[in-house]
């Protein structure tokens, strides 16, 4: 095994779980392993020789892989919500209010919030993953957070008016 191969193996072993979790939050569970494998295959070909923090870069690759996956699924007409795990927008476990507010956001806003809240990235790292500048991402995140807050403060009536028991 040469140095490049060994270096890539170390990156893979360190970040495989994080990349799988990234996909599990956004795609059907059955597709997670395949999507992660595709991400690392792309990364193997394109990973810069020197990248100090590979994970944000890997998330950027994963974002493109996921977009391709969704396009292919849409062409096949299989973009229906996954029966086992539900629509990605609703995967905010145990918090129906948040699920509905989240669903009201557009994809870009959701992604900005998820990269920070779920992937745990800093603003500069999340910007790399999102493929934009840190300044642009900071604005995007701020607006997304404000929209989410408004959606949480003013939930759609149907969300909460159904009583638990009659």
């Amino acid at each position: 095994m040469n140095a490049e191969h060994a270096r890539f193996r170390a990156i893979y072993e360190e970040h495989h779980a994080a990349v799988c979790a990234y996909f599990a939050r956004r795609a059907p569970r059955d597709d997670v392993e395949d999507l992660a494998a595709e991400t690392f295959a792309v990364a193997w070909r394109k990973l810069p020789r020197r990248v100090e923090q590979p994970l944000p870069w890997l998330y950027g690759v994963a974002r493109n892989v996921l977009a391709n996956h969704r396009r292919k699924a849409a062409r096949r007409g299989t973009l229906a919500p996954d029966a086992t795990s539900g629509d990605p927008a609703e995967r905010v476990s145990g918090d129906r209010g948040l699920a509905h507010a989240f669903a009201a956001l557009n994809e870009r806003d959701r992604e900005a919030i998820c990269l920070v809240a779920w992937e745990g990235l800093s603003v500069p790292d999340a910007a790399r993953a999102a493929g934009c500048s840190a300044a642009a991402f900071a604005v995007r995140l701020s607006r997304a957070r404000a929209r989410l807050r408004r959606a949480l403060d003013n939930p759609p009536a149907a969300t909460f008016i159904v009583p638990e028991r009659i």
Binding site: N2, E4, A24, E33, P48, R49, V92, L148
Partner: protein, 252 residues
């Protein structure tokens, strides 16, 4: 603390721990990674690079004469070199690329074998073929081409740049005890400038060492400062005979 983000964090549907231990690198099917030398595949023709270097007015007659003698010394035929290469970062980290043996006949044919047994061949009109050293599998790319690597690119420079031109003689030194001339030139094609040097044996005029140094920012915006070093262990010109041409074929 941001209560909105905290609420999202608390609702995280998946943790990394769920995938702990699921990594299986050996099961990962990795495509063939383009090697560094493929940087040159983007160049429409080797002659373009050479011409760019030789058309600039000469400022170093010493370099011109060295190049002229080297052109004569290398001669025609099939060029063969065994070399080692590594990439040195400014922080001291070194990536070793191992040893490779390369045969080149003009820009018509080329064969590359590394110390892992991986093999690439190119023939004009037939494209490239790659044989995986581990599995033995052969992958062909009829539309792909290869051009000679750095030390052979330098040889092409030697053969073509009779006037020296943009190449300057930096001085004289020794490489593994052999007296050598040091030639230097800079190349820039859209990206960061690449400062290149070639050490030429003062007696045989064969290439002894090649380096290029580049610095800038990578695709993630991180700064890099690195030097590629290729040291020639053996350099020969073989007669262009049918027997030697077989050295340019897969498994040759």
């Amino acid at each position: 603390m941001d209560p909105v983000l905290d609420r999202v964090r608390a609702a995280n549907p998946v943790t990394e721990a769920e995938f702990a231990g699921a990594a299986d690198f050996d099961a990962l099917v990795l495509p063939r990674r383009p090697r560094r030398r493929r940087r040159w595949l983007a160049v429409p023709a080797l002659g373009t690079v050479v011409a760019a270097l030789v058309l600039v007015p000469s400022s170093a007659p010493g370099a011109s004469e060295i190049l002229r003698r080297a052109s004569v010394a290398v001669g025609d035929g099939i060029l063969y070199a065994q070399s080692t290469a590594e990439l040195r970062a400014a922080d001291g980290e070194v990536d070793h690329y191992g040893t490779r043996r390369v045969w080149v006949r003009g820009d018509d044919a080329m064969r590359w074998v590394d110390d892992q047994g991986n093999e690439d061949v190119y023939a004009k009109g037939a494209g490239t073929a790659h044989r995986d050293g581990r599995t033995g599998e052969v992958e062909r790319e009829p539309d792909a081409s290869m051009v000679a690597g750095d030390i052979f690119r330098s040889v092409a420079l030697l053969q073509s740049a009779r006037a020296g031109d943009a190449v300057t003689l930096e001085g004289e030194t020794t490489v593994d005890g052999r007296p050598a001339y040091v030639l230097r030139w800079t190349e820039q094609r859209g990206g960061p400038a690449i400062e290149q040097k070639l050490w030429i044996d003062r007696e045989t005029y064969a290439p002894l060492r090649y380096t290029d140094h580049s610095r800038g920012r990578d695709v993630s915006g991180k700064p890099f400062d690195q030097t590629y070093v290729e040291t020639v262990q053996e350099f020969r010109t073989l007669p262009d005979t049918p027997e030697n041409r077989r050295l340019l074929e897969l498994g040759g």
